[in-house]
């Protein structure tokens, strides 16, 4: 059963003092050497949450009351805990770790998992890769331990339970995890751990020796599942923080690059490389992300999308042009990558999408799609979706410009409608004989005689759609021609109690 597991290799990173390391990164002036801790107040009691090495060395432990801790270590520096900030930092580190593998996942609250299957040889082996990751984290001021194993949960348990950053062979999961303490390896709730300890079960090996059925009855199936994943018997899935790209191109920069010209040159090289790969695979892409790793460990992304699958470097390049200004190189980028997502078979995808056949039309639709892509970088672009509704504001909806426009519903354009519509109808003053047609109209302070009137056309609100907007009242629409020849579309809003006239559009 052990051998049935996929022959993957996983690297786990454990960041024991992420919360305090993060604080020191943000505030470098926090006393060096002084113990640092974060606190929170669950249930009104203020207790320690996370400690750095110095605080732990001073005899403090998580869960201790704040007053006790301050009595033990009078020079303790305290900061309120920020769980969201810690989670965001962990997520950021998971993105950073994509320099080693495209598939990286979170192991909250303080761990990362990397699927390094087939990636290690690029870094000179698994041990060298692990050392490189730990070195880089260490230089960034983040304490870390790591392990490489044939299953993600095993690696995570080893990273927590051992201090020597081991690299273990696939298939030996049960053997290497057996001596680990249960609490560190399985990460059980405190109550379960105490119960197990009372029974004399302290190490993973002790549990493995027990018959399974009574364990499940006593402690639940969850315990056995955790045990199985850690010892490599069960599956331990890794959920990537970012879905893995379908094709990538990467480039390591020997010197950190800072200038826009250098970034442009690097991007050109990457686009050419990506084009070659897409072409070899017979694919085009609709979503390309540029990832840039900064020297100080930050990672920045710029994404573009195209309406039709493309692999043309010139076109993709122009789309990136508008966005590259958002990159902040700081001290420079040391590594850049392009990731292609949403890839499609090129030839088939385009024509099917636009509903157009024929070879010679392909070039035209591609040119149109390219100009739409370019426009969307700076301005709003949409097509018009005709909607079957008599209510004027609702008869038109926006559609993605790359989508095909369905046929208009019957009678959609049959009614006389204005060519220009006011987004918010403008108030008017209208005079007329009694309830009859209007004869005089006052707009923006000037009076206009009405020469011709057509109407009224009465529109009832769509009560089955307007439940949320009961203020919508029926409208009597008139088409009027002023003495100057101008034609307007006005309506009488028959709201309860206060009917009023409004200008809604300009007729031809």
């Amino acid at each position: 059963m052990t051998d049935a597991a996929a022959p993957g290799r996983f690297l786990a990173l454990h960041l024991p003092s992420l919360a305090t390391d993060r604080l020191r990164r943000v505030e470098p002036e926090l006393g060096d050497g002084l113990p640092l801790a974060t606190w929170s107040s669950p249930g009104g009691r203020r207790v320690l949450l996370a400690l750095d090495r110095a605080a732990a060395g001073a005899g403090l432990r998580p869960g201790q009351a704040l007053a006790d801790a301050q009595a033990i270590a009078s020079d303790l520096v305290l900061r309120p805990a920020d769980p969201e900030g810690d989670a965001a930092a962990l997520h950021g580190l998971a993105l950073w770790a994509r320099r080693y593998s495209p598939i990286t996942g979170l192991d909250p609250p303080d761990g990362l998992l990397l699927d390094i299957t087939g990636c290690a040889h690029l870094r000179g082996g698994e041990a060298a890769l692990l050392r490189d990751a730990l070195d880089r984290l260490g230089r960034a001021g983040i304490a870390a331990r790591g392990a490489v194993a044939g299953a993600a949960a095993t690696a995570a348990a080893l990273a927590r339970g051992r201090l020597d950053n081991p690299v273990v062979d696939s298939g030996a999961e049960a053997a290497v995890t057996a001596p680990l303490p249960i609490g560190l390896a399985l990460r059980l709730p405190r109550a379960v751990m105490q119960d197990l300890a009372r029974l004399g079960l302290r190490r993973v090996r002790d549990l493995l020796d027990q018959p399974r059925a009574p364990l499940a009855r006593r402690f639940g199936q969850d315990l056995l599942e955790r045990l199985d994943t850690v010892t490599g018997r069960g599956r331990s899935p890794l959920r990537p923080v970012v879905p893995p790209p379908e094709l990538t191109a990467t480039r390591d920069c020997p010197e950190p690059i800072v200038t826009r010209a250098a970034i442009d040159a690097a991007l050109d090289g990457l686009l050419d490389a990506l084009r070659d790969r897409l072409e070899a695979a017979g694919l085009g892409t609709r979503h390309v992300t540029l990832l840039a790793w900064r020297v100080d460990g930050m990672i920045q992304q710029v994404a573009i999308g195209t309406g039709l699958a493309s692999r043309e470097p010139a076109h993709l390049r122009r789309l990136f042009d508008e966005r590259l200004g958002r990159l902040e190189p700081g001290l420079g980028f040391e590594r850049m990558a392009l990731e292609a997502r949403a890839t499609e078979r090129m030839a088939a995808g385009i024509q099917a999408r636009l509903g157009l056949g024929g070879r010679d039309e392909g070039a035209g639709t591609a040119a149109l799609a390219e100009v739409i892509d370019r426009l969307r970088q700076r301005v709003a672009v949409h097509r018009v979706l005709p909607v079957a509704s008599h209510w004027p504001e609702r008869s038109v909806a926006a559609l993605d410009p790359h989508d095909a426009v369905p046929a208009a519903p019957a009678g959609w354009a049959a009614q006389p409608r204005p060519v220009l519509l006011l987004r918010r109808p403008a108030p008017l003053e209208v005079a007329g004989p009694g309830d009859g047609p209007p004869a005089l109209l006052r707009l923006h302070g000037a009076a206009h005689r009405i020469r011709q009137v057509a109407g009224p056309a009465r529109l009832e609100p769509e009560w089955w759609r307007d439940r949320a907007r009961p203020e919508r009242a029926r409208r009597d629409y008139y088409r009027v021609e002023l003495a100057s020849g101008i034609r307007l579309w006005i309506f009488l809003d028959r709201a309860e109690g206060a009917p009023r006239w409004l200008l809604h559009g300009h007729l031809a």
Partner: protein, 245 residues
């Protein structure tokens, strides 16, 4: 220079080069045109050029441009700038022949973006028509829509072959532009109903041609065509100019 010169060949190539540089300045009737109206001395508006339309009232200008764009026969971009409170209404445009399937609406936040978008669109060979709407009268628009900007648009249209339209309100002093033609359109009210609008059309300026008009034209919605003459006059016997006089 030791290469013997063929004077005739040199002259011919220079002439061709001048003609290329002048672009739309050549004889207009050679370029394919978008037909306008049968009875007028003008065959229509040239493709691959930018035309300016001054509208005395918003509705008739939009409708007139819609008729022209619909007659280009392909995909059409409608570019509006800023938030002026009105928007082209596709349901109304459809009555002038422009169906939603062929229409792409663009809204830019500022004038620079709108001009840029217009230029990009005009350069695309697949696009047959594009309109840049200057609705309302934003301050400083005459400064933006100057000779340089319109010259760029004109060159873009020549490169792409589309019909470019600049729709703007008829202000007292519209600054000169590099557009091929400048038209003015206004409403002529009728006395016989509100269905078929009647317009007063005037060619104010034309590069390499003479201004003309005013003419009266009527849009026949049922037949989908423009015809000369006022809607309420006897169509058979009177020319457009007489009808207006």
């Amino acid at each position: 220079m030791n290469v013997p010169l063929d004077r005739e060949a040199v002259l011919a190539s220079l002439r061709a080069r001048v003609a290329r540089l002048e672009g739309g300045g050549g004889p207009q009737h050679e370029a394919p045109v978008v037909p306008l109206c049968d009875g007028l001395p003008m065959p229509g508006l040239a493709r691959g050029a930018v035309h300016e339309v001054l509208a005395t009232s918003p509705g008739c200008g939009v409708a007139f441009c819609t008729v022209l764009l619909a007659r280009t026969g392909g995909t059409v971009f409608w570019i509006a700038a800023g938030r002026d409170g009105t928007s082209a209404w596709p349901q109304g445009l459809a009555a002038f022949g422009l169906t939603p399937a062929r229409l792409i609406l663009v809204r830019a936040e500022g004038w620079v973006d709108a001009l840029w978008a217009m230029e990009e669109v005009l350069r695309c060979p697949t696009v047959t028509g594009a309109l840049l709407a200057v609705t309302g009268s934003p301050p400083g628009i005459d400064a933006r829509l100057d000779l340089t900007a319109t010259r760029r648009l004109q060159l873009a249209a020549e490169a792409g072959g589309a019909l470019g339209l600049l729709l703007r309100p008829d202000t007292v002093a519209a600054a000169p532009t590099a557009a091929s033609t400048r038209w003015r359109i206004g409403s002529l009210g009728g006395e016989n109903g509100l269905d078929d609008p009647c317009w007063r059309l005037e060619l104010l300026r034309m590069r390499g041609g003479r201004p003309g008009g005013p003419w009266a034209v009527t849009w026949r919605a049922a037949e989908g065509r423009l015809e000369p003459g006022r809607c309420d006059t006897d169509r058979a016997g009177s020319t457009a100019r007489e009808a207006l006089a």
